[in-house]
């Protein structure tokens, strides 16, 4: 393996890890606070991507400035996260928080199936593209390699912004403090006046927005096909489980490990590329059943 290929694999992995983190952090946040493993997270990712492609193509077709596709990605992601995420929480999840985890898993799985078909009804099965943000940002030369600036600069920057904003939000804002309090003890939080239902709703919507944002930012580099949501939910679960469910900073690190390991596998032994993330997950969980950063008893985010 030459240095060139190693550098290429590293950059590939970095870009991929950034997208993985965006989706996994939403999944892990929702699990950490609500205790629900949201399988429909994958659909929110896919629908965020489709909505971005539709909005971006429309913007370009109308002759707007191509740079507008960047705010377009965020608008589409937030719209999908707030509307769809909000509806899922209000109509379904709110009724099952005290129920058996198996039932919760089944309900979110059912939502995933419904959304998967809804997606086919709306966007059909032909692949979608919207690579405008990729082309307007152009290429950069990094480690001796020409790479798209979108993938090696914009995506990692977006992931870091999300990571640090989320950390700041949880530790230094009123809503963040309420989320931490409800996570630790719902009843004690209610006894000091915190509206736990509202905290759950906000947390789910924020998590859903991250899933949709992951999809939105994936749009310029991925061709959108049916089944991408299923693929992503399994992958982001692997990332979240490797880190320990509920661990936000941990998700960033395990996304990096899995992203980079996978892209090295692409170059070194392509046949194990697909199972690479799960291989890492299994190895980590064998040694540390609670994940790399997971703790034994207390649920924390």
């Amino acid at each position: 393996m030459t240095m060139n290929i190693a550098a290429l694999a590293l950059l590939d992995g970095l870009a991929y890890a950034s997208l993985l983190f965006l989706v996994a952090v939403g999944l892990t946040l929702i699990f950490g606070v609500l205790g629900i493993l949201n399988v429909a997270h994958g659909s929110l990712y896919a629908i965020g991507a489709y909505a971005t492609a539709t909005l971006g193509q429309w913007l370009v077709a109308q002759g707007f400035n191509p740079w507008l596709t960047f705010p377009g990605m965020i608008v589409a992601a937030v719209a999908v996260g707030v509307l769809l995420g909000g509806l899922i929480e209000r109509l379904l999840l709110q009724r099952i928080y005290s129920k058996d985890p198996v039932l919760q898993l089944l309900v979110t799985f059912a939502v995933f199936m419904i959304l998967e078909n809804l997606q086919r009804m709306i966007w059909g099965v032909q692949p979608y593209f919207m690579s405008t943000p990729l082309t307007v940002l152009g290429n950069v030369r990094l480690l001796g390699i020409n790479y798209t600036a979108y993938q090696v600069l914009f995506l990692p920057a977006a992931a870091l912004v999300v990571l640090f904003t989320l950390r700041y939000f949880l530790r230094h804002t009123n809503m963040g403090a309420q989320i931490l309090a409800v996570t630790e003890d719902r009843e004690a939080a209610t006894a000091i006046g915190i509206n736990a239902s509202r905290v759950y709703f906000m947390t789910f919507v924020i998590g859903a927005c991250f899933a949709a944002l992951g999809g939105a930012l994936a749009t310029p580099t991925t061709s959108l096909v049916t089944g991408m949501g299923a693929n992503m939910i399994v992958l982001s679960f692997a990332v979240a489980a490797t880190a320990g469910l509920g661990q936000i900073e941990g998700a960033a690190i395990s996304a990096l490990i899995i992203g980079i390991a996978r892209s090295f596998a692409v170059y070194l032994s392509p046949e194990i590329e697909v199972i690479m993330p799960y291989l890492i997950m299994v190895l980590v969980l064998l040694v540390r059943p609670n994940g790399l950063f997971g703790k034994e008893t207390v649920r924390k985010i």
Binding site: E184, T190, A191, N195
Partner: protein, 224 residues
């Protein structure tokens, strides 16, 4: 001020309390005594809205059951649970201030309420910056009382505050309640306790709970 009438309460469809009726007036200190498992904690949790209940509960004339549990602290009801339940991710000061922050109280109002807490519990001033997970059980009880005091301007519910407290700390806790009585004579206080003797000098009335029902309700003769 607080009036319960024929209240039944259950947790997960298991009936715990039956036919509870009593009233508490302002400035009253009521000891709620009974064996472990008699339903004392459930009674306090019912007032806070954490159980499924039937019957009538009125607070200052208004129907308390119609008020969402998270809005009840805003009526001036403070609750210190038996097992402290501090938020370990926060410092002691943050734990005490969180109720005020959630209620979006103004800066001056928050400061004056914090002063009231410090007046009652001077030791919290020094504990302030420590993480809530690091304090001992007894200190934790003081912090839980301080946190409950932030919002309790009308009614204070204390669940087994003396349980497991070292004698010195129990003494300090009782002194703190004495100071609270002094600065806030109209506050109503309900304290649960399994040892009826402990509160006899402090509470003006003792309600005994036995197997989920009220066994007796009598005012205490002042012996001290």
């Amino acid at each position: 001020m607080l009036a319960l009438s024929k209240v039944d309460a259950s947790i997960n469809n298991i009936p715990i309390l039956r036919d509870i009726s009593f009233t508490v007036g302002p400035a009253e200190t009521v000891a709620l005594v009974g064996r472990n498992g008699a339903g004392k904690t459930t009674l306090l949790r019912t007032i806070m809205g954490f159980t499924t209940c039937h019957g009538e509960m009125r607070f200052e004339g208004a129907d308390l059951r119609a008020v969402d549990p998270h809005r009840r602290p805003g009526l001036g009801i403070g609750y210190a649970p038996e097992d402290r339940r501090l938020f370990s991710r926060f410092t002691i000061t943050q734990n005490i201030l969180l109720p005020a922050q959630v209620a979006k109280l103004g800066e001056t109002e928050t400061a004056s309420r914090l002063e009231r807490v410090y007046h009652v519990l001077p030791e919290l001033r020094d504990l302030g910056p420590r993480p809530a997970g690091s304090v001992s059980g007894g200190q934790g009880k003081m912090v839980a009382l301080g946190r409950a005091l932030m919002l309790s301007s009308r009614l204070l519910l204390l669940d087994e505050p003396f349980q497991g407290l070292a004698p010195v700390l129990a003494q300090r806790y009782a002194e703190a309640l004495g100071r609270l009585r002094e600065i806030d004579p109209t506050l109503a206080i309900i304290i649960t306790e399994s040892n009826p003797e402990l509160l006899r000098s402090f509470a003006s009335r003792t309600i005994t709970v036995e197997r989920g029902q009220i066994d007796s309700d009598a005012s205490n003769e002042r012996t001290t």
